[in-house]
């Protein structure tokens, strides 16, 4: 029985290893290929680079405009995350601290947004954004991203604010602190861990969004990085600048993986908490 369980232990270990390799291999391969020359890539997809072609990265960054797309993404995503947090925190705080006629209904209006598939709203959303003159603008995307993230954020932050003790807030009100003072000086600082987890969660979601920019942001100058890369891959076809494309791919993969590795505990916890509730 002992040796049997040891064999089983070895077998389980090797299964775990195989899947790990299958996940890592394509990623590593893309990173390695981004340092190769086109000829190297075509000769053998498996070999290590003979020389390290760092210039692939500058070519992708400048000539294929990945750099520009990258900054577009940074602007839209940071704007979207900040605005989403601001709007959601305000709503969540009100819903958690105050009871007023219709407050329950309001909560369901916000949380209900999680149930509907995005595709249902796609056509009208396009025209809403167009009628506001915000098509092909970063501001339009920021507003759509921020409001689109509100359902989940309000849901999450309301629970978070409710869990905070009310004593501190009441004491401050008795001492003559205004409601705004309580919010900004006491409640928001207390809610920082919640804001950070929801912020990371929204960052990943917005950074990876593809459908919305595809529909609302069709001007090449304003492309986001997912969109830009997919566009290069589709329009250039396979054979024009393979190594440059790999470099672009690496540029778009590594920052996200870095953010993930830095915050992996919160991210896994936050993402799975969303599924469990």
């Amino acid at each position: 029985m002992r040796s049997g369980s040891r064999v089983l232990g070895g077998v389980t270990q090797s299964f775990a290893l195989v899947w790990g390799a299958m996940v890592l291999f394509p990623l590593l391969w893309a990173v390695l290929s981004s340092f190769k020359s086109d000829a190297d890539i075509f000769r053998s997809p498996w070999s290590l680079p003979t020389d390290w072609h760092w210039e692939n990265f500058s070519r992708a960054w400048n000539e294929s405009h990945i750099g520009k797309y990258f900054f577009n993404s940074v602007i839209v995503v940071s704007g979207g995350v900040l605005l989403c947090l601001l709007l959601s925190a305000a709503v969540a705080y009100v819903l958690a601290q105050f009871e007023f006629p219709g407050s329950k209904a309001l909560y369901y209006v916000f949380v209900g947004g999680m149930v509907f598939p995005g595709f249902l709203a796609l056509v009208p959303l396009f025209f809403v954004v167009q009628n506001l003159g915000l098509l092909n603008s970063h501001l339009g995307l920021i507003l759509v991203y921020a409001t689109g993230g509100m359902s989940f954020s309000v849901f999450f932050l309301t629970a978070f604010f409710k869990a905070q003790s009310k004593d501190l807030a009441e004491a401050a009100l008795v001492d003559g602190c205004s409601h705004f003072g309580v919010l900004f000086r006491i409640m928001l600082p207390l809610a920082r861990p919640g804001l950070v987890s929801i912020g990371i969660f929204q960052f990943l979601g917005m950074w990876n969004e593809y459908l919305l920019p595809l529909v609302l942001n069709t001007e090449e100058d304003r492309y986001l990085v997912t969109q830009g890369l997919a566009n290069i891959a589709v329009t250039q076809g396979y054979h024009s600048d393979f190594s440059g494309l790999f470099a672009g791919l690496t540029i778009s993969i590594l920052p996200v993986l870095a953010v993930y590795l830095a915050f992996h505990r919160q991210i896994s916890a936050g993402m799975t908490a969303g599924a469990l509730k």
Partner: protein, 296 residues
């Protein structure tokens, strides 16, 4: 102090509620009326045509092909992904955790943080017939005969796309399931082992029933996800949706109708149908996977 409170509440709610109403609530509400119009192209005028769009949809062969692919994905993806994820979670949790379990969980989760579009571009290279990773691997181990066009062949295109979805999803559910397993009290396992249960038995008799609510959520997620497949197919498949509609799905067909052909009324009808399917399948999933909830 009390009217101060109301001023404060209104002040805080006004802007968020306004923006949410404009960008979230109003598009969802408008989707339904648009589905009953003949709105096309750039014309600003349109008229209501009752259920005509839905009747046309019913006779649209591409829609049925797309629906069939969605249903195929809907049966295969949850089954494969949940089975694999349970398997790897059980492995990582084996005897209180295999060596390096934490490291594996971090690595498995990698694809979940990548954009689906980026994953699509990456796998386009993997499937590339001449110098892609997959055919390169097959030739390297002497299985030249298995090297295929993958995405270019109608017989393998949908399967190839599905493999990428599996690759990208398993890690997320492994993390989800291991978190649920970690919440099971250790004493229960000790008692089971004392009673002479093997690891496999303990998994099916103890672990699985105890984490079933989580599995149920996972299945519901994946069922809805199977209906929502878009980005990967848009980036990965030829056409997209091809070759010859071999990878056509409802959401892609809706997108193409709306933003390539400008048939906004028709596309909205597809959207409403998708929404109805979504609701039915969610309810059905929870019904079919319902079990006595085990309390510990």
């Amino acid at each position: 102090m009390h009217h101060g409170k109301y001023r404060f509440v209104i002040g805080l709610l006004l802007i968020p509620l306004g923006l949410y109403a404009v960008f979230v609530v109003s598009p969802y509400l408008q989707a339904f009326p648009i589905a009953f119009t003949d709105w096309e192209g750039l014309s600003a005028t349109y008229s209501y045509i009752g259920f005509d769009n839905f009747v046309r949809l019913f006779h649209d062969s591409v829609f049925w092909v797309a629906l069939r692919h969605n249903l195929f994905l809907l049966l295969c993806l949850p089954t494969i992904i949940v089975t694999m994820s349970l398997f790897f979670s059980a492995i990582l949790n084996y005897r209180g955790g295999v060596r390096g379990a934490k490291f594996y969980k971090v690595v498995y989760f990698f694809p979940s943080v990548l954009s689906i579009a980026i994953v699509g571009v990456l796998w386009q290279f993997v499937f590339e017939p001449r110098s892609g990773l997959l055919n390169g691997f097959l030739r390297a181990v002497g299985l030249d005969g298995l090297a295929k066009l993958w995405l270019g062949d109608g017989d393998t295109a949908l399967g190839s796309v599905m493999a990428v979805v599996v690759w990208g999803s398993v890690g997320f559910y492994v993390v989800l399931f291991t978190a649920a397993m970690a919440a099971i009290p250790k004493e229960l396992y000790e008692a089971a082992l004392l009673d002479g249960a093997g690891s496999v038995q303990a998994f099916f008799r103890l672990t699985l029933p105890l984490i079933w609510p989580t599995v149920q959520v996972a299945i519901a997620f994946l069922v809805i996800g199977a209906l929502d497949q878009f980005a990967l197919i848009k980036v990965l498949s030829i056409g997209p949706g091809g070759p010859d509609d071999a990878t056509q799905v409802i959401s892609l067909y809706m997108y193409t109708n709306a933003f390539t052909y400008g048939k906004f009324g028709y596309a909205s009808a597809i959207g409403v149908t998708l929404f109805a399917l979504n609701m039915i399948l969610t309810i059905l999933t929870f019904r079919l996977t319902r079990r006595e909830r085990v309390v510990y």
